[in-house]
């Protein structure tokens, strides 16, 4: 594959260009994979884009999408969340037991599930930032804690999801499942948040370099804790979707390895594992790539065990290809797309959250 980002000279980073190149590359890969898959499938005398397959693809990507959007936020802050699978399982159980099959308790169930998940995320964030526990260990430990709770208290299916809420899992607008719409709306909100709000810029700043962010006046803990809370809440939404599809709470969904799949999607989408670079748009492409692979494997009736082998190979190969592009040092500078641009008029430093940018216009304005 040809990487446009290999060419820029290290001294004059054309940040907007290489940033587009980064995410664009992932979308190019998505299109290539879709094309190759379609060709492969049609060679077998079937079609990839039948309504059933398209719905299947979108439904798969919505579940993984919820998890991966949250994971992107956390990874951008140079953290990690290995507990999302367990949080999703917890969410199915809480939602199903609170709703107990009664439609009028739907809102209560959703609120309870997401509230519990938010608390878990808050705990994750506080343990990571205040107790300074490595996020890998903190969230792995949190996952184990939840697993122990679920295993002890819920041996089998628990609670019941009312039919009205099961619509969340099955409603479709044409080919577009409701869950995929919700996922895309949340993704758009996350993209907007990262690009336009102070919180988003702080996330990039803290993930890129916590010490520099602190010296620039950013409260380092706040974005990290917020990212963890959002990540857990999104995992909770994924759990609600699972509960809506199953019609009951199922604690055992944590066995599906969602957290690792979400990390794979994030990395596939071009987000740098050490934080500070990347974005949700790329992640969505990563999610669609993984979902496409799954759908194609299903259509081609690939042995489920071979599926794992292929998935592992493809993820490694894709990240290896992507890593070649990242070798160019210019990529380091795309962290603040506007920071590298000389004209101060247009963007007086949104990444810095206002603090250091204030003197600039003041000097220009008073004279």
């Amino acid at each position: 594959m040809n990487h446009p980002s290999l060419s820029p000279s290290p001294l004059a980073p054309r940040s907007l260009y290489s940033r587009l190149g980064t995410t664009g590359l992932v979308y190019v890969a998505l299109v290539v994979i879709l094309a190759v898959s379609a060709a492969l499938v049609s060679a077998q005398g079937a079609s990839l884009f039948t309504p059933a397959n398209t719905v299947d693809l979108l439904a798969r990507s919505s579940l993984l999408g919820f998890l991966a959007i949250g994971m992107t936020l956390v990874i951008l802050c140079r953290s990690l969340d290995l507990s999302v699978g367990y949080v999703a399982a917890l969410s199915t159980v809480v939602a199903a037991t609170v709703m107990a099959g009664e439609p009028e308790r739907m809102l209560l169930g959703v609120g309870a599930a997401l509230g519990v998940c938010a608390l878990v995320g808050l705990a994750n964030g506080i343990v990571v930032t205040k107790l300074r526990v490595n996020p890998f260990i903190a969230t792995l430990g949190m996952g184990l804690i939840i697993k122990g709770y679920l295993d002890t208290n819920f041996q089998g299916p628990a609670g019941e999801i009312p039919a009205a809420f099961q619509l969340f899992g099955y409603t479709r607008f044409g080919l577009l499942p409701l869950s995929a719409v919700v996922m895309l709306v949340l993704a758009a909100a996350a993209v907007w948040m990262l690009a336009r709000t102070r919180l988003g810029h702080h996330m990039y700043a803290v993930g890129g370099d916590a010490e520099v962010a602190r010296l620039s006046g950013v409260r380092v803990a706040a974005p990290v804790v917020t990212a963890h809370v959002l990540c857990s809440v999104l995992a909770g939404v994924a759990g609600l979707l699972l509960a809506a599809r199953f019609g009951t709470g199922n604690a055992l969904v944590y066995d599906n390895g969602y957290e690792l799949e979400a990390i794979a999607a994030v990395v596939l989408g071009g987000t740098y594992l050490l934080g500070g670079r990347g974005g949700v748009a790329g992640t969505i492409a990563g999610v669609f790539i993984l979902a496409t692979l799954d759908t194609v494997f299903n259509v081609l009736a690939v042995d489920p065990f071979v599926k794992d082998v292929l998935r592992g190979t493809i993820v490694i190969a894709a990240v290896a290809l992507y890593a070649r592009g990242q070798l160019s040092r210019a990529a380091v500078r795309v962290r603040f797309p506007s920071g590298g641009r000389p004209p101060p008029e247009e963007s007086p430093g949104p990444p810095d959250g206002g603090g250091p940018s204030a003197p600039e216009p003041a000097v220009g304005g008073t004279r």
């Binding site: 107790l131 903190a138 122990g148 042995d303 998935r311 890593a323």
Partner: protein, 353 residues
């Protein structure tokens, strides 16, 4: 890491009086003593030779995995593939040996070669292709998991031979007081001593330097890619030996090895070894593995429901690491405190480039 002060174990300057306690070794040794003391109050006969040897036999595989994982973690990377590598090895052994005594040694040799090869692939993909090790080894984990199940058709087939099971089950009989001295204990002890020796050799110094700061290590003449790849190969080797012990001890099931990578990482981290590399000792990793296994034994003795064990395990890891990082923060040398990206803050095994 300087080589001319052999007494200061990878510690910063002027920390010698505290270095034993400040590195995780003292903490985890204390934790181990406390757990053993609690076990002793519950079951006074635990220290009477045979039960202790049974404990050692059970703990040996985790000790081996922790040593292998230590090499990788201290170099700043991760190996998530060891669990499925152990599983794959046991299943491969059962299928190839199929109860035939004569095939035992060749198959054991093949397992070792296979483990080395998996480690080599992990290492080369991570270092040469620059894939973050969490992704590399996650991919290897999926590949091994799928490939072995595809090969055996979903359920493990065949059987292990008696002589294959000897290292995991047998021992030297008739030792006074202890009764039977398990081979597993001997193997683990030899591996631990060899690992300590290795970390004091020039390779170990290079490994530590690479984990601490790979750029500085590269400028000092360390071949970073080779050092890291070797660490992965060592991890694959340890996983193969552990697979022989585990296969011998508990036999062949489809679930063998499940989740062991996280248990091994937990053990290493419990020993105060920093994720991100550059700090911690092998002894601490071994003690961490023993402490974790002792904890599991304690759970069994307290008749805790097996399902609550993960919760306690999770709480203990978080508490242990929170405690360790609190001390680490107080004692961090000035150099690391000022630097924006000290190795302590690397959340994932990834070479900084």
């Amino acid at each position: 890491m300087s080589t001319d002060r052999p007494t200061a174990k990878h510690a910063g300057p002027r920390r010698d009086p505290w270095s034993f306690l400040a590195g995780g070794t003292g903490t985890v040794a204390l934790l181990l003593v406390v757990i053993f003391a609690v076990i002793a109050t519950q079951n006074p006969s635990f220290f009477e030779g045979p039960p202790l040897m049974a404990f050692a036999r059970m703990a040996a595989p985790l000790v081996l995995l922790a040593i292998g994982q230590y090499f990788v973690i201290v170099s700043g990377e991760f190996d998530l593939s060891v669990g499925s590598l152990v599983g794959a090895q046991v299943v491969i052994a059962a299928r190839l040996i199929d109860g035939d005594e004569a095939r035992t040694l060749p198959v054991m040799g093949l397992m070792i070669v296979f483990g080395l090869a998996v480690g080599l692939v992990n290492g080369l993909v991570t270092t040469v292709l620059k894939v973050p090790s969490i992704i590399t080894t996650l991919g290897t984990m999926l590949i091994l998991f799928g490939a072995v199940r595809y090969w055996t058709g979903g359920a493990p087939t065949g059987a292990l031979s008696e002589s294959f099971r000897l290292p995991g089950r047998g021992g030297i009989e008739g030792v006074p007081y202890l009764g039977q001295l398990p081979y597993a204990l001997i193997i683990a002890a030899v591996a631990a001593v060899a690992a300590v020796w290795l970390m004091r050799s020039s390779y170990g110094r290079c490994l530590m330097a690479t984990g601490d700061n790979d750029v500085a290590a590269a400028f000092s003449g360390v071949r970073v890619w080779r050092v890291r790849t070797t660490a992965f190969v060592l991890s694959g080797f340890m996983a193969s030996v552990a697979a022989v012990l585990i296969g011998g001890f508990s036999g062949v099931t489809a679930q063998v090895g499940d989740g062991m990578e996280f248990t091994a990482i937990t053990a290493v981290v419990l020993g105060g070894v920093l994720l991100g590399g550059g700090r911690g000792t092998v002894v601490a990793a071994v003690l961490g593995a023993l402490a974790l296994e002792a904890l599991f034994t304690l759970f069994t003795q307290l008749y805790l429901p097996a399902t609550i064990q993960p919760t306690v395990q999770g709480l203990i890891i978080i508490a242990a690491v929170a405690y360790a990082s609190r001390r680490g923060d107080l004692r961090l040398p000035e150099r690391l405190r000022r630097r924006p990206g000290p190795p302590t803050e690397h959340p994932l095994g990834t070479s900084r480039r």
